[in-house]
């Protein structure tokens, strides 16, 4: 188990390095941030001075080596625009995205699993077919369009929920979160639903396939022979068996929800990391972009580890193999 974890860690470091190189030079080639940072009527002397201050006068590889040197000491640079450390800046935007992703994940499980299990149970009936057809919409409709449609229905027409912004926040464990205030939660529902729709359809399909397969197993038949109710068979015998693939996929999807909620956050003007990324790309704020993508990689690595741990909790057979090695 330890060897396995160490190997995974080593792989992750390589991914981080590759990511660093690609992103740094990629952003470097897009354009010179000086053109955006400094006013157009600055004198050449001022421009040269600013270039030296940010280190832009040095060749690309020198800039990169300096960046790596600093990165190794935990410093991913300062935002050109905000003047703050890039990491601090991202961290200050992170809680908003995290809570949005968490609620989105909750929605996708709460909607996807029951629908999927039911669709699997009634696979040959119209109920099952209807759910499957519906799920096609779920992952073929584009995110931004769903977001705008939800705004149109629930914010503009029905006026039930607010359309943009973050609402009231409460300080919990040093983070400002809106999930714990009623007003803030109202602001989260629409963006979280938008974010969850695709995952929910994915989970529905996975849960259905798993349920259909599990229902054919002998242990289900044996449970029926014991006189166990159909409800309990579905909720205990089937559900626990199908959660393993669902958690794998959701783990990966959670990562993408956190890292790439860009579109949804833009539609709902949600002040999260996605919006920060878009703004930083527009201003060529290189340290923020690089730091953001590096953190994305770290989040994915962390989530994959967590998924592995949850496996062992769900599947006792994995646990034993782990103990043996």
């Amino acid at each position: 188990m330890l060897v396995f974890l160490l190997r995974r860690l080593a792989q992750s470091v390589f991914v981080l390095i590759a990511m660093m190189i690609v992103v740094f030079f990629g952003v470097y080639m897009i354009g010179n941030p000086i053109d955006i940072l400094i006013s157009p009527d600055a004198t050449p002397a001022e421009i040269a001075e600013t270039m030296t201050r940010f280190g832009f006068d040095e060749p690309a590889y020198m800039q990169f080596l300096k960046f790596v040197g600093n990165a190794l000491q935990g410093d991913l640079g300062r935002s050109f625009v905000h003047g703050e450390s890039a990491v601090t800046l991202i961290l200050s935007y992170m809680p908003a995205t995290l809570e949005l992703a968490a609620l989105g994940l909750f929605f996708s499980v709460a909607i996807g699993v029951p629908l999927g299990v039911y669709a699997g149970y009634k696979a040959d009936r119209w109920q099952g077919r209807a759910i499957m057809t519906g799920s096609i919409f779920g992952f073929s409709l584009p995110n931004f369009w769903v977001g705008m449609l939800l705004i149109l229905i629930f914010a503009v027409e029905l006026r039930w929920l607010p359309s943009t912004g973050r609402g009231e926040t409460v300080e919990v464990l040093g983070m400002r979160l809106s999930i714990f205030s009623e007003n803030g939660l109202k602001y989260m529902i629409l963006p979280a639903l938008t974010l969850a729709l695709y995952k929910a359809s994915l989970v529905t399909r996975l849960a259905r396939a798993g349920t259909q397969e599990a229902l054919m197993q002998d242990y289900v038949k044996f449970a029926r022979a014991k006189g166990v109710s159909e409800t309990r068979i579905l909720l205990v015998h089937v559900l626990k068996n199908i959660m393993i693939p669902i958690i794998t996929v959701l783990g990966l999807e959670l990562g993408s929800m956190i890292a790439f909620a860009v579109v949804t956050e833009t539609v709902f003007a949600w002040p999260g990391m996605g919006k920060l990324l878009i703004d930083s790309i527009l201003t060529l704020d290189r340290p923020v972009i690089v730091a953001y993508l590096m953190m994305t990689v770290i989040i994915f690595i962390f989530i994959n580890f967590t998924v592995d741990v949850i496996y062992t909790l769900l599947d006792p057979r994995v646990r034993v193999k782990g103990e043996a090695s």
């Binding site: 242990y219 044996f222 006189g227 626990k240």
Partner: protein, 326 residues
């Protein structure tokens, strides 16, 4: 008084290739504490018969005819809820493959306690105690600790004991055992046979033991019914059927068992293969493989005839004289 009375049971599978009459007019009855051996090759319909009794036949199969009277009530007429209340409670079942019958992700405790509480409104504690004593009864050492284990921590034989313990939990009147020892090695097989026989005798539970192995039922069953192509071709008291088989198929089955004192002798085998159930021949289904076949066999199927008082047969050319026909 008979506890189970199956009359003219018909279970058909409606497949794309046509209707498969997996069980086609099977009748038998069991009294309390009786052990019936249901013997036949793969595909003879013996397992489907077992599942039909519990109303657990999977689609596209359906019980289309006949009666299954269990303690005087026709099981076909019960609602799903009433049937569920019987299953695992009055009628229990043990499956063939112990590796597949227990849910891999649930503890033995969970799987046993739920079987008790599906029928009795007792506390978790009381259900657990009953589970422990059932495990002890089937010979599982330190049952209290083993209760917390997962199925994969048991060997095949131990898993089958757990399955048997689950079947015994509610003290059923009837257990349908579908080849429960087939997947086990011989030493475990004989241990389990001996234990089940003893348990059935102690508790007065009637037992239907489904198997393809005549040797297994020889020492276990009071009566034997031999199935071929969805029908019972011969039935009677175990001793009588085994010493003087009347149906050529039964004789063929007996001849293919290797035994002591037959060293060097060639095992007889039944020529050909079990028939395609979707396209059965017109007459007797066994006719194409039978050594005693005549034109009558090919054109019409034999009806059940009873003889010797307690034996019955479906054959035009029995191997024993059908004297004292009752």
């Amino acid at each position: 008084m008979s506890i189970l009375d199956v009359r003219d049971l018909q279970t058909h599978f409606f497949t794309d290739a046509g209707v498969v009459k997996a069980v086609d007019g099977v009748s038998f009855s069991l009294s309390a504490g009786e052990v019936l051996g249901l013997v036949g090759e793969s595909g003879s319909g013996k397992s489907v018969t077992g599942f039909s009794i519990l109303r657990l036949v999977d689609a596209p199969g359906r019980v289309v005819g006949g009666q299954i009277n269990f303690k005087g009530q026709d099981l076909a007429k019960l609602s799903d809820r009433e049937m569920r209340a019987l299953r695992g409670n009055r009628i229990a079942m043990i499956f063939q493959d112990p590796m597949m019958t227990l849910n891999p992700v649930l503890r033995i405790e969970t799987q046993m306690v739920e079987a008790v509480r599906a029928h009795d409104r007792v506390s978790h504690k009381a259900a657990r105690d009953r589970a422990i004593s059932a495990l002890a009864k089937v010979g599982i050492p330190s049952p209290t600790e083993r209760l917390a284990a997962y199925p994969h921590q048991f060997s095949g034989g131990m898993r089958q004991r757990v399955a048997i313990a689950i079947a015994l939990l509610n003290g059923p009147d009837l257990i349908v055992a579908d080849e429960p020892t087939t997947a086990l090695d011989v030493t475990i097989q004989s241990q389990i046979l001996a234990e089940v026989q003893q348990l059935a005798r102690e508790t007065g539970t009637a037992l239907i033991w489904i198997t393809h192995d005549l040797a297994v039922v020889a020492g276990l069953a009071d009566n034997i019914s031999v199935m071929y192509a969805g029908r019972i071709v011969e039935s009677g008291p175990t001793d009588a059927v085994l010493t003087a088989p009347a149906h050529p198929y039964t004789q063929g089955l007996l001849g293919s068992i290797p035994g002591h004192g037959r060293r060097g002798e060639r095992l007889t085998q039944i020529p050909g293969m079990a028939p395609n159930m979707a396209r059965l021949p017109d007459g007797c289904a066994f006719a194409p493989r039978c050594a005693r076949v005549s034109d009558t066999c090919r054109s019409s199927a034999p009806e059940i005839t009873t003889f010797d008082g307690r034996r019955s047969l479906r054959c035009f050319h029995p191997l024993v004289p059908m004297t004292s026909s009752a």
